[in-house]
């Protein structure tokens, strides 16, 4: 085999793998804190990417309106839950986070969309919009189910995925879109050509992994999240608001998803339904990482990306088969290495 081709495939695999790593990290995070297996993670990716691409093309993305609509829903849920003891402070706070904030963002989006905003503005708006969607989704769909089993949460997660995917088609149409590069320019090193975009992908992935590591290791909120992950009841008794932990987890997951989307949409054309598969490959990485370990997930994601790159070169027909079947030996090894000592959890 040709060394150049091999290097090229490895490079390609690492770029994709970096994205899967980010998504895998987000999935692990959300699962650990809320027990939700976040199938809509893929939608965060496409929403981020397509919102960014639409804005850059001077179109008004429907996601901004969705954020406001979900915000209104979240506000209604807040009011309904607190209906017996409505404090002014609570109402005002909920009103600001759920109604005022998305309204302002919607106004800004309307203003900017008309005039083909510069790339940084597009990125900022897309991130904020998707972050709000993630936050409100948790409030509306998952927080009322927080006490139920993993299975019920999973099915709810599927419901959210279906609804978001349908909305994606409504907002962005069936046509695929591409966005402008975040960082243009390129340089070559030996046989390899590094684009500004791929450098951005590496840099942001590494930055995020380090940031998450610092967040969980050093900050109080990070520790609170970890505590919630280990023992919900214990965390509550220690005064940690588990709903807050859930909100933070979803917020982070949606930001990570949107960011991943923004990073890949200049490289590959994304469709409204591309997110599912991308998210699933993040899943594969997350499972290999055991849904608990961040560094392992990141490493696994790189492997997934590289395997994918090689199999799409040698057996492109069987690319997906190979990637998903990659899991079976890993799972086998895992179950042989650590026979499950599970206790009843219901």
């Amino acid at each position: 085999m040709n060394t150049t081709i091999m290097l090229f495939l490895v490079q390609d695999g690492i770029t994709n793998g970096a994205i899967y790593a980010l998504l895998g990290l987000a999935l692990v995070l959300v699962f650990a804190v809320t027990r939700v297996i976040l199938i809509p993670q893929g939608e965060f990716v496409t929403y981020g990417a397509l919102t960014y691409a639409s804005l850059a093309a001077g179109q008004m993305p429907g996601t901004a309106k969705l954020a406001l609509a979900l915000g209104i829903g979240a506000f209604a849920f807040d009011l309904f839950v607190a209906r017996r003891a409505l404090h002014a402070r609570l109402v005002v706070r909920s009103f600001i986070t759920n109604i005022v904030l998305p309204s302002i963002v919607l106004a800004l989006t309307l203003y900017f969309a008309a005039q083909k905003p510069p790339v940084p503005v597009c990125i900022a708006l897309s991130l904020v919009i998707v972050a709000m969607i993630g936050l409100y989704l948790y409030r509306i769909a998952f927080q009322p189910l927080a006490h139920t089993s993993v299975l019920v949460l999973l099915i709810a997660s599927v419901g959210v995925h279906l609804a978001l995917q349908g909305l994606g088609l409504l907002f962005f149409g069936a046509e695929g879109q591409r966005g402008p590069a975040v960082l243009s320019g390129a340089f070559t090193a030996g046989a390899l050509r590094f684009t500004g975009q791929s450098i951005t992908v590496y840099a942001i992935t590494i930055a995020f992994i380090v940031a998450l590591w610092l967040f969980f290791g050093l900050t109080l909120y990070g520790k609170a999240l970890r505590a919630t992950a280990v023992n919900r009841l214990g965390a509550r008794l220690a005064g940690i608001r588990t709903t807050l932990s859930g909100q933070i987890a979803f917020l982070l997951a949606s930001v990570i998803g949107a960011l991943s989307g923004i990073m890949i949409v200049p490289i590959t054309t994304l469709y409204y339904d591309s997110g599912f598969l991308i998210g699933l490959k993040g899943f594969v990485a997350a499972i290999i990482g055991g849904l608990v370990s961040y560094p392992l997930t990141a490493a696994a994601a790189l492997v997934v990306g590289i395997v994918e790159a090689f199999s799409s070169f040698y057996a492109s027909n069987y690319k997906e088969v190979i990637v998903f079947m990659l899991l079976i030996p890993v799972l086998l090894l895992r179950s042989l290495a650590a026979p499950a000592v599970e206790e009843e959890k219901d």
Partner: protein, 589 residues
Amino acid sequence: MQSRLPILVFAALMAAIPFVPGMPPFWIVLLDNIGLAALVAMGLVLLTGVGGLTSFGQAAFVGFGAYTTAVLSTAYGLSPWLTLPLSLVVSGSLAVLLGLITVRLSGHYLPLGTLAWGLGLFYLFSKLEFLGRNDGISAIPPLSIGAFKMLSPGSIYYAIWVAVIVSALLTMNLLDSRTGRAIRALRRGHVAAEAFGVHTPRAKLLVFIHAAVLAGLSGWLYAHLQRAVNPTPFGAQAGIEYLFIAVVGGAGYVWGGVLGAAIVVVLKEVLQSYLPLILPGSGQVETIVFGIMLVALLQLAPGGLWPWLISFLPERTGGRKPDTSLKLEHRARTVGESGVLLQVEKARKQFGGVVAVNNVSFDVQAREIVALIGPNGAGKSTTFNLITGVLSATSGSISVLGRKVDNAPPQEIVKLGISRTFQHVKLVPDMTVLENVAIGAHLRGHSGPISSMLRLDRADEAKLLAEAARQIERVGLAEQMHQLAGSLSLGQQRIVEIARALCVDPMLLLLDEPAAGLRHMEKQRLATLLRDLRDGGMSVLLVEHDMGFVMNLADRIVVLDFGTKIAEGTPATIKTNPEVIKAYLGVAA
């Protein structure tokens, strides 16, 4: 367990539907689809709702069933009736293969693992040449009986619903049997079930195969209904959809699967045909509404709709008391169950740097009550776990009747006649007391899954239940026999555990804090029971914190502190032992 009348009524109703004058043919198509989905969902009910194993991969098994018959009946011209067993065998044997890999996965790996191979197989279906790649296989012959060809949705309707009702009956029969109880115990963790001889990986594999065969049956019917197959209906989306059919209907209930299928199929159809009229426009509005309704439904009824519906029915109280005159054969005895029953020699258990049990030695003789006492964290429950094979010892040896049983699995220990209760009660809360106790007699029954499904197990089953009822009466809970175990007080649940342990017909009973949570009178009754058992030839090893209870009951006491044995002797000598007093009170008296 349940009266068959409602099922007969339901079957008659379903049989009559096509004869209703003016019945739109389209409704029959819907009912066909409901039946097909219900078959798969029923398997998932057993797998997920009852057995606690979540699978996203069921659509792949539907695909195996459909493709098997498609290939064999088109390329090789086999009769569809011949391909039926082959379809089921293919689904079933691939389930064995995939099951061997995946059912060992614990917790959340399992659903994700099934999702992964579900996806992989979907892509495989769409890439393989002999399966027709993305186009699939068409011109599949219809089912036929003699000259009668089931070409219309109305004619295959009966084949589908006969399959659904028969499968439901078989599945319910299976659940209401020796094997069924083992399956129902899976969801609550495997430790308790294994302590009574249930081979949990095998039980898991069994439900996995059962669900796959039902899915394969659905696939076979699907292929002959559509008379064409392509990969689309066997993808991950479909696998997810089957799962939420089961959850929406009520994942723990066989009929919940049918109800869920009806709801989801009808809902999708209604949304698809009427929503565009209300909300015109491009896009999959129906998917959006469907997703939202799914979340809303879960928030309103997280347990599914079937249990919500039957909660409106008048509660059926009581059940038939088993005929206790039936005798169950005794456990196969080893010769000479006398002398030293259990010998623990320098048993040691380390968890990392922590020595939980430090070279502890003691024995239990025949017809003897030995108490294992010590402050919290002394290693008493760990010692129990070492004896019963739940944990394996780091070093040292444990012998039963003079034979070393080092690190034998729990299923083997119980065969030697050692049965136990747990410090943290491990009953299946949604099973009745009788059913829970009958798990104890698991090894004394013989009926397998097939005979249970066909109801050939009734003689065996009646004896098991009779034995369970006898033991329940013996411990004084006859009144609660048909109540759900979860509805009993904690103290009573401990007593239920003792009855379950007695069902083993043990020579040595290991009781982990049996008196905790009991009232004074109940403790006295327990003490009397244990003395009776000893006088009847059984030995008892118990861990207990109630000193009054222990001192009055035990023949001999072993005291542990920080994993080390500090004293052994009769209650009188232990009471005055300075080491013991120091361990409990912290000062030398």
